[in-house]
Subunit: 144 residues, 2 copies
Amino acid sequence: MTIQNRPAFTTEEVARAQTYKARDYPSNVDPRIESLVREMISGFADKWTVVILDTLWDEGTLRFSDLARHVTGISQKMLTQTLRRMERDGLVVRKTYACVPPKVEYSLSPLGLTLGAAFCNVWIWAIENHDAVAAARTTFDGDE
Amino acid sequence: MTIQNRPAFTTEEVARAQTYKARDYPSNVDPRIESLVREMISGFADKWTVVILDTLWDEGTLRFSDLARHVTGISQKMLTQTLRRMERDGLVVRKTYACVPPKVEYSLSPLGLTLGAAFCNVWIWAIENHDAVAAARTTFDGDE
DNA sequence: CGGTATCCACTTAGATACTG
DNA sequence: CAGTATCTAAGTGGATACCG
């Protein structure tokens, strides 16, 4: 298996992914599972979580202040909050050094790395399709 | 290429995905691109967008009220709002029938389908790892 | 440096009522 | 049925100040 060895999705590939997911993970197997998954997605699918995941995935290990620099626009409060939640969910590993001044390093856990791998296609999609989205917006706004 | 023919990610696969993304889409090519992508991700990575995308990906075409039934917990207002934004971004196609009572059908556009394909691994990750996350939370909460 | 705590402005989202 | 409009409660997030 290759997670990703070519960026774009052809119509056939989309259809195949759909068939695959429907076959192995039918949405109606167990409504409780379905709702649990919804709950999980709701938890991870927020602005900052995804961006931090992306950053740590790209950069590896970062100190708190370096992370703040990379994640443009985030406040210290939200960075702390989001990192705590990700740590609690087992996605992020926090390593503190007992020195002065304090030093804290963040990195993705093995679980976090697998989530990063799963998100890889989404990031690539974003890179490749941001023109298409911009165009769609212009069209939509033009004849609204 | 197979988008997905086996669920789990091994360490090697994670490493390969990472190398791939870093090589073809280095995070430092163009800071403007990077920030645009961040902006896009921020836009799509909200609770309802992802769940609606998931639902339409699984179900194909749905009427407004069917969508409301599938997406448990969403208010009519948020459903309308999110669908409008997704339509504006070119992800969703809205088809209205001039009849009484009114009938409106929503489905994913070709662009939306490719985003769904990109998200496929994330959904599968959520299905497969929700136990791991629950366990991580218990551990974290236990010795806090 | 890497936080925590408090306060406050702003946004968001649910409930409700109404419409084509 | 598929919305829109309005109001309001609750949550979010930024600024600031302070601590280990």
